[in-house]
């Protein structure tokens, strides 16, 4: 069941987020900040890992240790797609940050 969007509810949500925007309201609680940092770091390391995986399987193919071409190509695609996702997330974050900055100016 999807709740209907009411202006009161949205205002409440904005009120909730207020302390997390630096310079607006009180200082952001450290826990939330730290959590997001952790999630982002984990995502980046996973993307890095998938690139390394692709690299390793490509080397295995070159050495003749594996015959499975599709495995190598799939891993490269996986690395490509996950990198693109990371890039999109970064772009979205930067975009949000820029909008906040321009809102203050």
């Amino acid at each position: 069941m999807i709740d209907s969007i009411s202006p009161e509810l949205m205002l409440k949500q904005i009120e909730q987020f207020k302390p997390e925007i630096p310079g607006v309201g009180a200082n952001a609680p450290d826990g939330m900040d730290e959590d997001f940092k952790k999630v982002l770091t984990k995502l980046i390391s996973e993307v890095d890992q998938s690139q390394k995986d692709a690299d390793v399987s490509l080397q295995q193919l070159a050495k003749g240790e594996t015959n499975s071409i599709q495995d190598v190509v799939l891993k490269m695609e996986e690395a490509d797609v996950s990198f693109k996702m990371m890039l999109e997330i970064r772009n979205k974050l930067l975009q949000a940050y820029k909008e906040l900055i321009s809102a203050q100016a």
Partner: protein, 143 residues
Amino acid sequence: MAIELIPAAAISSSALDAERARMEITANNLANVQSTGKNGQVYSRRIPVFEAVYSEQFGHDGIQNLAGVKMKDIVADPRQPLELYAPYHPSADQKTGMVKMPNISPIEEMVDMIAATRAYEANLSVIKQSRDIADKTITLGRQ
């Protein structure tokens, strides 16, 4: 793998492996059309047997349980070997002069090869579409 964004990548990969093995069997059958052996020991046509793979033994219904396909077995075609009258042949029977040839029909093998190629291509397009939908979903937020 830590991060899996392309749906069904592992499943389609197993299908490609299976079709590849099927192609190798067809190649081996075609290569051995003329093979003969001593004392009636002759190569017989090989047939691949495919089997569905489940990640668990019980309860095959969940989507997580479906894990693609594998080549379960390679069996010999039970049909009788062909016989050819060639008394000059070193593998020929001393009395009758008949040579036993493998029970392989090149036409049959060619048809099988085409089927394997088409099946491989079908699985390739599954991978392609999966990659595309992952790509499209990721770029959803873009203006």
